[in-house]
């Protein structure tokens, strides 16, 4: 753990709960895909859970996030209800989006999950808009835009950071640098060693942090979110991490450095965090195990309920395309 201010026990446990729930949810997702009971195109965030856990413990329910196809962990940490999440994965009428959006477009405004986009880079400009609204209405709310390392090379990233900085928007840009964009290594596509250094191009603070270190990540998140909330403007956080299961779950990983991957998996941040919590006396093995068992049960119940839920009616094709007549 980083040699920094350590958050209190409550926060640490909250972070553990969030990240463990995301991990267990991921394990179950991979299980139901593998066993064929719920096949879907799935972008596993396994290995990256500490990042949104640390962000989310610094957010209120009324703060919002905009995330990407690989954003299950971001939303679970933000508090999205599992039944609705799984309902959407299964394409059922009980899903967050009545089955119409699917895994790449999960939305749940009640918990602040405002957008999941399948277009690289597009979470950022829209997050700006949410933040702009908070600013104009003087609401003291914050929006977090999640995105990947490779997304930092697309135009929308550039435009969004410039605008956010000019207008001091209450937004935090969180780049989850998992070292790959699809099959392409970070270094091959990105012309700067640290994405956080790009912040200087926008007169904005940039924080480079080990996203797998709960304490360091907590402090980075707190600094940036406080800054945004206090009207001091946006921050770019580059959180270093790794994705354990390739780009899309089931791909052959042939493009990945085997050693790099083995090393990253050996340093799985979740068991590490867990061991540290016990070692430091923040929680007992017993308590954490009970939590995990309960989470697993919750997830499995959510899946069961999704699998048995009804499909949407076919006339949903004509609904929600345009608003129901108003004038």
């Amino acid at each position: 753990m980083a040699n920094q201010d350590i958050p209190n026990q409550e926060i640490l446990l909250d972070m553990y709960k969030k990240s463990a729930l995301a991990k267990i949810n991921d394990e179950n997702a991979r299980r139901v895909i593998m066993n064929g009971s719920l096949p879907m195109i799935y972008y596993s965030p396994r290995g990256q859970e500490i990042i949104p856990a640390a962000i989310s413990v610094n957010l209120n329910n009324s703060d919002s996030i905009c995330t990407i196809y690989r954003g299950m962990h971001d939303m679970v940490c933000k508090g999205i209800p599992l039944e609705k999440l799984w309902g959407e994965y299964a394409g059922k009428s009980t899903g967050t989006c009545k089955g119409k959006g699917g895994p790449m477009h999960i939305t749940h405004p009640e918990t602040g999950c405002m957008l999941t986009t399948g277009i690289v880079g597009s979470s950022l400009p829209i997050a700006n808009g949410l933040a702009l609204s908070y600013q104009i209405k003087n609401e003291k709310k914050v929006c977090v835009a999640y995105f990947g390392d490779a997304a930092s090379n697309i135009g929308a990233f550039h435009e969004a950071l410039n605008m956010a900085s000019i207008w001091k928007l209450p937004v935090v840009f969180v780049c989850q640098n998992n070292r790959y964009g699809e099959h392409t290594k970070f270094e091959k596509a990105t012309s700067v060693t640290r994405i956080s250094d790009r912040a200087a191009a926008y007169g904005m603070p940039g924080i480079h942090v080990d996203g797998n270190d709960p304490v360091a990540m907590y402090n980075a998140a707190k600094t940036a979110i406080d800054r945004a909330r206090n009207g001091e403007g946006p921050t770019l956080i580059e959180a270093m991490t790794f994705r354990f299961y390739g780009h899309v779950f089931g791909d052959q990983d042939g493009y990945m450095d085997k050693e790099e991957k083995a090393k990253a998996m050996a340093e799985d941040p979740l068991p590490k965090f867990r061991a540290w919590l016990i070692e430091q006396g923040y929680a007992s093995e017993q308590v954490l195990m009970e939590l995990e068992v309960a989470f697993d049960k919750q997830v499995k119940e959510a899946i069961a309920s999704a699998l048995s839920a009804p499909w949407p009616e076919l006339d949903e094709l004509n609904i929600d395309v345009l608003a129901a007549a108003q004038h």
Partner: protein, 331 residues
Amino acid sequence: MMESLNNQITTVEAINSALADAMTIEDGIILLGEDVADPEEGGVAGVTRGLSTRFGDSRVRSTPISEQAIVGAGIGAAMAGMRPVVEIMMMNFATVAMDMIVNHAAKLRFMSGGQTQVPLTIRMATGAGLSTAGQHADYLEAWFAHTAGIKVVTYSSPAEAYGLLQSCIFDNDPCIFIENFIAYAQKGTAPEKNSRIPLGKANIVRAGKHVTVVSYGPQVGIALAVAEKLSAEGVELEVVDLRTISPWDKATVLESVKRTGRLVINHEAVKAFGVGAEIAAVVQQELWGDLLAPVRRVGAPSCPVPYSRPLELAFMTSEADLENEIRLALK
């Protein structure tokens, strides 16, 4: 703004008033776009002049040249409950923001199962005739009309601009509001304050019995001029101003063509794969047996907008082009 002589106002004044009057009623209306605030003179054509002074720098913001960020900011603010009006200076610049418009603004209501909506108005100007050539004068409404989840609106007079823009702003869907640059100075009768013209409803601007002409934007003026001319010969055109290009008012168009038996569609956009094609395709199917002649279309040739004045004039659809198609329809 609207106290002009004889109750006549320009289109610029009409649009400016529509924005001002709407902003007065509802705080959630904000304006974003390049040069839109007063230190920047309210845009190159002055359409938003005075509004930042009146409503404050927070609600009226000149932006960096970043159309993706501009539309994205509009989308996010709309999702949070505001009613942003963003300006993309010229329609061709929408090409750098199509992801935001098409993959996001248009789809978020559906993809979220109705949990979020994007009550965003995107204003954009265009039109040939100013010698701005290939990259500043395209009419791209067919692209947006082909995109589910977004409304496409344009006007044929200052008062129509006022009423339709008001409706776009207060509509709960994303609306593309198309302005014609060359007609900004066009004058017309001032609208009633806060009057709205419903979206999705066409307007029969001239009744007639021989040929229906469906049009929109400044082309409606061309249709009326041709109608005046042909009336002298005893040919009575019924001129339908579509107002909303998508979703278009099938009922009004079909009812009119059923009466006249003949249809010519007239737009400035390139004819091939343009808006007229959809209308022709629907009408020939729905009114099979009622049509007295095939549906005909007037539109630009399949080339970029040329610079040279004679070429530009030949490119632009004219009264002569429309008259010609009408005469063919009457044969």
